[in-house]
């Protein structure tokens, strides 16, 4: 019962180096070390675990500049079988709507997939919309915030997902789009042998034309999202130290603390 798995990953700036261009509202990527979006590593790990349990083949798909091929090679060095890069000037500036349209096109192009795995969100844009977007474009069921992929049958799978009130377990028809949270598994590290293999693997580069995509739905022009303004939150952290010297000040201090908590929780 081998499964065909696709993992969608994004190359993001190193977490410590994320900076925004306030004029354009986009993330500054030039001259900043790039990594695989840390939350996508959990999707990669989940895919590797599924392959270990059920067999099959995993393809990592990424959209980005030519440099994003490094992210695919990193995924392969962790154990992913193949990589595909969507790279085309037509993709530049795409928002989540356009990005998920392009990724959905690539998944259709690859064909025959059972499970599409994504990270919860990317640490640069922080939207969490691309996974569900892919499902919408492909008209597939989607399960977000999945913490456990319990079982996979011939035509269905059982998933456990985090919701506000706890967990819910659901059965979904395959193919399915799943976005995972950190709980799903701890990502393994790339190995020396993995790195060596990743250098040899041929990673095809696909364009909008290869995928027969409608260019009016791609890039900055095709993206409905406009960043109007970026606001930095003010740091309002203030410390009030309540010193207790004797019984009387103890009551005062606990009273003040209780009042503070009541006020804050209003």
């Amino acid at each position: 019962m081998e499964k065909r798995i696709i993992v969608c990953i994004k190359q993001t700036p190193d977490t410590r180096s994320v900076k925004m261009d306030e004029a354009t509202g986009t993330v500054i990527r030039e001259g900043v070390p790039a990594i695989v979006n840390p939350l996508d590593l959990y999707a990669i790990e989940a895919a590797l675990n599924l392959r270990e349990s059920y067999g099959g083949e995993i393809t990592a798909v990424s959209m980005g500049p030519a440099k994003a091929i490094e992210a695919l090679r990193e995924a392969i060095s962790m154990g992913i079988d193949n990589g595909v890069l969507l790279c085309d000037g037509a993709f530049a500036g795409s928002d989540t709507w356009a990005t998920s349209y392009a990724l959905a096109g690539a998944i259709k192009h690859l064909g025959g997939v059972d499970i599409i795995l994504c990270g919860e969100r990317a640490t640069d844009g922080d939207t969490g919309q691309v996974g569900p977007g892919i499902a919408a474009w492909l008209d597939l069921p989607v399960a977000t915030y999945v913490s456990t992929i319990e079982t996979i049958e011939k035509k269905t799978c059982r998933l456990r997902r985090c919701v506000e009130t706890g967990y819910e377990t659901l059965t979904a028809k395959l193919p399915v789009v799943v976005t995972v949270v950190k709980e799903v598994s701890n990502p393994r590290l790339p190995t020396l042998r993995g790195k060596q293999r990743a250098r040899q693997v041929d990673i095809p580069i696909l364009t909008a034309d290869d995928l027969k995509l409608d260019k009016s739905k791609l890039g900055l022009q095709g993206s409905p999202t406009r960043v109007v303004k970026i606001v930095k939150p003010k740091i309002t952290r203030k410390t009030t130290l309540l010193t207790v010297k004797n019984e009387a000040t103890l009551d005062q201090a606990t009273g003040a603390l209780a009042a503070f908590i009541t006020e804050t929780c209003k």
């Binding site: 990594i35 840390p38 590290l189 020396l192 042998r193």
Partner: protein, 487 residues
């Protein structure tokens, strides 16, 4: 303090506090507040027996204020203990005779980044990692890499001649200190060295000050050498099935590959298990007996790739069961934090322990590890061992079993230390590679050095600090004690 030699120090009185207030300003003198002073009674050595509070703490802002404080202290015969960030591991900043603690925290400015000479001049309280944050955009770096670099200050690094993770390739702090402005123990201000790569104008007093543990002078300005920032860095985490296999690989890697790694860290099973549990890290360490963390850096990604391929393959050839590769800052940090958090992990497990800092010639490291294992078996004690295997410096921790009583442990620990230091000395080693002697190890100093050497140390101290005012009771006592000749 267990043994307090007869000293003739005077107590800090209200009149002296007023004088101190006149020098630094009233709000920068901490006095009469036991809770506030407690913070300056200890460093990170651990164990209440090493702690002692000061009578007063002062926070000067200028070199001249420090000079005035030293003159006052000499006149009144009050001991002065300089303190950086308090992250020391041998008690260097602990005022064991009370008196004045001199806090450097207000002197925390970066004074100049000289990109023509590749040098930086800083005040002592600058946090070590802050230097790299400032110079990295200029494609420069400061090569010191103590494991506490996010919390320790550069003044303390210079005072202890801090080593750290990159010493095998880049050496220790002393290699980078070119100039010092120093307040002497008697309150004079003197400039030592400067922006000079070569300088033989008189004795090499800069290097006398580096590693003097706050006993010979107070650094108020420090000029450091910077290096061009390596453009690529890769870390390898190599799992071996036994500690002997891992430690045996260290010298072979260096000699056979013809590459000096930036770091070669050894981490035994107990140490990485404790740290991984502390960090909730789930690397498959269960099957590993020891790990090597090897860092390689260089001017281009291709060069570093060639280097790590060679070193990684050599590790596999020497029995590594897996070699992980971290070639970006996020993955690198995931690996290094396992190494850096070992002390913290053990601090949570027990307070009854002693972090050691023994150092031997690098090629003797396998013998040292074998001897430590036999010592642990002999006393049925835990001795997790990790550290800078590439440069011969290991951090064994002597850790009490939970069921042992305080009495038993307090009686056993000195015996363990004595044997550990003796076996280190037999291999041509010393009792501290980078943490310093402080007061924690001073009674063991005579085990590994000659009497003539200690006599020389005393002569230097006496010449610069005739009243024994600056950080007294550290490294050695001025008068020989009865325990000094038990080798």
């Amino acid at each position: 303090m267990s043994e307090e030699p007869n000293t003739n120090y005077q107590k800090v009185t209200d009149r002296i506090v007023e004088e101190l207030q006149a020098i630094v300003g009233e709000r920068y003198v901490i006095y009469g507040d036991a809770d506030a002073l407690e913070a300056y009674s200890h460093d990170e050595t651990g164990g209440k027996q090493w702690a002692h509070p000061p009578e007063v703490a002062v926070r000067p802002e200028t070199t001249e204020q420090i000079a005035a404080i030293m003159k006052l202290a000499n006149r009144e015969r009050i001991p002065v203990t300089p303190r950086g960030a308090g992250s020391g591991l041998s008690g260097g900043a602990v005022p064991i005779y009370g008196g004045i603690v001199l806090l450097s925290d207000r002197m925390n400015r970066i004074l100049e980044i000289d990109t023509d000479n590749l040098m930086i001049t800083v005040e002592p309280a600058v946090i070590t990692s802050e230097i790299n944050e400032q110079v990295e955009p200029l494609r420069l770096f400061y090569a010191g890499y103590p494991m506490s670099m996010e919390t320790c200050s550069i003044g303390g690094n210079v005072a202890e001649n801090a080593g750290g993770g990159k010493a095998i390739k880049y050496g220790v702090t002393s290699r980078y200190v070119l100039g010092l402005e120093v307040v002497t123990p008697t309150g004079d201000i003197v400039q030592l060295g400067g922006k000079l790569i070569k300088d033989v104008t008189g004795y090499n007093l800069v290097q006398l000050m580096v590693g003097s543990e706050g006993t010979l002078g107070i650094f108020t300005k420090i000029t450091l050498k910077l290096l061009p920032l390596p453009q690529a860095q890769v870390d390898l985490l190599c799992l071996f099935s036994s500690p002997e296999q891992a430690i045996g690989a260290v010298t072979t890697i260096i000699t056979a590959c013809g590459i000096i790694p930036t770091a070669v860290e050894f981490i035994d099973r107990q140490s990485f298990e404790a740290s991984c549990k502390y960090l909730n890290e789930t690397l498959p360490y269960q099957d590993a007996g020891a790990m090597l963390l090897i860092t390689l850096d260089g001017h281009s990604p291709d060069q570093v790739q060639n280097d790590y391929e060679a070193v990684g393959e050599k590790c596999m050839e020497l029995g590594a069961t897996e070699v992980y590769v971290a070639d970006n800052p996020t993955t690198s940090e995931r690996i290094w934090r396992i190494r850096r958090n070992i002390p913290e992990a053990y601090n949570l497990i027990t307070q009854r322990q002693s972090g050691e800092d023994i150092v031997v010639p690098p090629a003797s490291i396998p013998q040292l590890v074998a001897k430590i294992r036999r010592l642990a078996e002999k006393y049925d004690v835990l001795i997790p061992t990790y550290g800078h295997a590439g440069d011969g410096n290991l951090h064994s921790r002597l850790v009490s079993k939970p069921e042992w009583s305080d009495e038993y442990w307090n009686e056993l620990l000195p015996r363990l230390q004595t044997e550990l230091y003796q076996l280190t000395a037999q291999l041509g080693g010393r009792i501290s590679g980078e943490h310093g002697i402080g007061h924690k190890r001073k009674k063991y100093l005579a085990h590994v050095v000659s009497q003539e050497y200690i006599t020389m140390l005393r002569a230097i101290k006496r010449a610069l600090d005739p009243n024994n005012i600056l950080n007294p009771g550290k490294i050695f006592d001025m008068e020989p004690s009865s325990t000094e000749s038990i080798t």
